[in-house]
Symmetry: C3
Subunit: 445 residues, 3 copies
């Protein structure tokens, strides 16, 4: 449970809000590199932290993430021409490069050849970086820019990773909380027939073993590790997930999962009630196999099956989004017969299952859809990781208001943070973490 004030603080992300400013201290995923694959190609409309932006690759291959409107009279740059190292507004031909500089004002004789005047006509542009198949953006003050994003999944070669993104119709936090909520796996993602893993989901294994895991949280510089212990016969089944502030996860694969790699999600706020979920799947020991890529493409895990389209959310520009085929408008294609015999939800696909419970959570009486009313929750011991994440976020946001920068944004530990799951006879989280610190071979149990 959270006070309404704290809930507001955690969920509001516009310019000037405490949480919005905290997000602006981190490098954030913006779009997929493949969306702006070609030089001078079609720009992508996006919104991050309530700001309307445009992503494009210029003629030299550089990617820009700039404000979505022309400095002249506010026309949408999306309809402009991406040519000769800049986007030229369709209305009067003003041109801006990836750094937001105004490089041409062709409709005004006195300005077009006057660089000094043009210098005052730039638009906001944010530093970008490409890694892990993702275009990253840093939207904070230049002098506070942390090192470029560096995670295990951004370090591996392209052949070993896969990135995707899609639209979630909720505030970022109620999506992100699902990442560090180990116990839900035993229910939401449970298969009823343990021999049937048609969906590739074998949460049944976990649930059959123990639906009430003991969760231990260990602080780290970049966030914390969440360690779930489940009984499994004479052994324990351990899962270590990583939470990297403010909203990155690293999740271990399920034990019998056909996918042999690891993965996680990042929850990038579009605005207060919509989120772009980024997913990354990767192997550290070699290329993703064709089967693994096919599994990812199938939509049973992450990403879900989506359709890329223009959507209008709120009052700003329309944005280019990957909209899941199964969504709240079609009850996530729930099959009540399937729910009786095949899996716990009757909903196909892990992300669909997640969204079915996350997108429709109870709003506050006067609040908007998409922000759950955390003042009416009843949290248990099994929610300790969620409680920890909120406590850390609140502390970081309040610290920042006092001028204390978040060290998590610069933590070198992010590059080596790793999720793991395995059986072990030890009953101690500390002992297990020692074991977990062993070399990578042990992880592939």
């Amino acid at each position: 449970m959270l006070s309404q004030d704290d809930n507001e603080l955690l969920t509001r992300v516009g310019p000037g809000t405490a949480m919005g400013e905290l997000f602006r201290r981190f490098w954030l995923p913006a779009v997929l590199s493949e969306e702006v694959k070609e030089r001078d190609s079609v720009p992508v409309r996006l919104r991050i932290l309530c700001e309307d932006l445009l992503a494009f690759r210029d003629s030299a291959g550089r990617v820009g993430v700039v404000e979505a409107y022309c400095a002249h009279r506010g026309a949408p740059l999306f309809f402009g021409r991406n040519e000769d190292c800049g986007v030229r507004c369709a209305y009067h031909g003003w041109k801006f490069d990836v750094d937001g500089q105004c490089v041409d004002v062709p409709n005004d004789a006195r300005v077009k050849d006057n660089p000094r005047v043009r210098a005052a006509l730039g638009i906001t542009a944010y530093p970008t970086h490409e890694a892990g198949g993702v275009v990253w953006v840093y939207m904070g003050p230049k002098e506070r820019m942390p090192p470029r994003p560096d995670f295990e999944w951004t370090r591996v070669p392209e052949s070993q990773s896969h990135a995707s993104r899609w639209l979630q119709n909720s505030n970022w936090l109620q999506g992100a909380e699902g990442e560090i909520d180990s116990s839900h796996i035993s229910f939401l993602h449970q298969e009823l027939d343990p021999n049937d893993s048609a969906l590739g989901v074998t949460g049944a294994d976990l649930a059959g073993a123990d639906g009430a895991p003991l969760i231990t949280v260990k602080d780290t510089e970049y966030g914390f590790s969440s360690i779930a212990r489940r009984r499994r016969g004479d052994n324990y089944f351990w899962r270590v997930s990583q939470w990297l502030a403010p909203m990155f996860s690293l999740i271990p694969r399920a034990p019998a999962q056909t996918f042999n790699g690891s993965g996680g999600r990042a929850w990038v706020p579009i605005d207060d009630t919509h989120t772009t979920t980024f997913a990354y799947s990767f192997r550290i020991d070699g290329p993703l196999s064709a089967d693994e890529r096919a599994l990812i493409a199938g939509g049973a895990h992450f990403p879900p099956r989506t359709k890329r389209m223009v959507v209008q959310l709120g009052q700003g520009q329309p944005i280019d989004a990957f909209v899941p085929e199964a969504n709240i408008g079609n009850d996530y294609l729930i099959d009540r017969q399937m729910q009786k015999t095949v899996n716990f939800t009757g909903i196909w696909g892990v992300n669909q299952q997640d969204r079915s419970v996350q997108e429709g959570m109870r709003p506050a009486p006067t609040g908007p859809r998409g922000i759950v009313d955390r003042s009416r929750e009843h949290l248990m011991g099994s929610d300790i990781a969620i409680v920890t994440a909120r406590r850390k976020l609140l502390a970081m946001a309040r610290d920042l208001q006092k001028g204390i920068e978040p060290i998590a944004a610069s933590s070198a530990g992010r590059a080596t943070a790793r999720a793991i799951s395995s059986l072990s006879s030890t009953s101690s989280a500390d002992d297990y973490l020692t074991e977990y610190a062993k070399p990578i071979e042990n992880e592939e149990t």
Copy 2:
């Protein structure tokens, strides 16, 4: 005409509002029994008086109407599993019975076997009752619960009655006002060719006789009787309608109507601008015939032709609604040629005709669509029943604010209130009411 303050008072129905509290002193129709016909079947999402609710029948056949969200973290219970006498949340498996009690918390070892902790984890559940093919709910304070709903139409055997519900896109009151507005029948529902009653509507009869009826209102404990007198040759055509607080009607059949029974509507607020209309048609002298059931199913009267679907209204959960095929989005399928020669509106079906004028009434300059601006009305003598209903509702709502409970909610007279219409030579309402008090045979003229 009403002051804006009085209009606000009558139309706002959320928790804590004067009218909302008055509604919470009455048993209200919630869903149709047939929607939750089978045990452990799919729950139904509904909203009443701005509260998101879930209706379901459990394994023992009991019907629950409970709050729509899990006590744990607010996940929507609709996606849960209705099994073994309770709904189990899909997110973490918490389970709630029809009384809202939390009967299982399987994801937390310390809580799951601790009934004392679980006792604090219940969700709101409202008392229910089934009668007349309808699941009723009482949403007020337990100690104020009135006797269970008891009307003539809930007393007759199932074979003698039919219940239905559908979505009206307006505040409850501007729908309910149509019930007690005798004069509109002579216009809105008029057939131009008196020999053509293809629609089964014979308002032409009424209009031909006298479009300006004299209305008399007689107070009753449960509300009032509205008595309309129309000239018809040397006789008078009398219609007695019943208004039962806060929004139940009993309406006599039209004289030449093929349907031989009686009926009425109840207007249950979803929120301030949407309403679920419940209709009941019944005979007191024997089963509805196949022809009568076919007439009801045809959609020419009540209910209209509808399609059951999920709709998103406002900020809460999506709800399961019966959406009329003819609606404001398609101009109620108006046929302007038909309007010239066949009937007064060019719109097919009595309820379509009602909704065409009620759903699009003038909103206040800064008010929402769906609430008519009653400060700009010009009421006449023919509106005396409407004026009476408002006056009574205002008095009851204000009395309740002072602690005076509405006796109408407990009135035994509701069980015998009856609508009637017939020809009579008397010109006196009092004399006619004496005649009306005769046994039932007289009613079937």
Copy 3:
């Protein structure tokens, strides 16, 4: 750039606003005459300046523009019967004539034959006038009514003009500003291949000559003339556009344009964020040819291709609108390949091009979509006509608040104002205007 206060003042048009009152001093286009062509035909729902209205032609051929709701209880008159010189409400049969007088109250015996009571039951009706294929309405105080609309295009015979209207999803001003923005033609409407004028647009001509025209503004009683001079070899290419307060334009044809006439637009606010654009095309020297009418009907200029349908905007009644087929929901059917080689935007049609940049302009951080944030603009010398229009509008609106009526509304000069474009060797706007004052033959260069 404009202060936020000034932007609010210019863009808000409801009753009681400064700009709304200014608009109410002018005759405004309401609907096309052809929409209410036949006597007693289907009424048209419209909204002007945030007021819900109904237009209809009565049995005597008179056109009424009246408030959209019945005086009795606010039912929508659209569903009523247009018959015997008045609209009869479908609910209770009350009837109103084109002057808003209540001429029948058939459902109340005491009122229906009492003209004195009925006199108090009228609805708002605004004076109308038909000219130029348009039904005009005056919504201001009766004693301030200016002379009836009198423009060159309303004076010519029907055979010489064409009028149309459609929906623009933006505030009126950002549409109207496009009219007096000569330099955008060189970009937004530019064809890349000057030999290909498949679209009938030859902005390439202009751009090729000179994309940075020198703009001169000359005050007139009715508004101002905007004079754009572009170099073209040893000559100058001159274009004189007229701005007639508050939002009428007269635009010269492009030099090589196949259409041999002239035209302009009027921007009539529906509400603060939607506009009905009226376009008029006309010749003063003779009938429009079949080819010219086909060109207009084709949708490449004005109007765009549209579909007439019912749309729901905001909180009032649905309205009957001509909705463009290419709109923000389908990215104006932009073809990025076409943008590389055929024309500057990749969007087909002049109005589509205009709307693509105007409808999606940057809203204020907390403002609604459809009103551009003018506090973040950077205006140049090329924007002098826009600056002038705003200055004049602000002055007129503020004057009116002080009781000074706008003389532009009554200016006789509006009848002779004319747009022109031609080559000339003079470099002086004054000299060119002298030349422009010559008889009409010179205009057809």
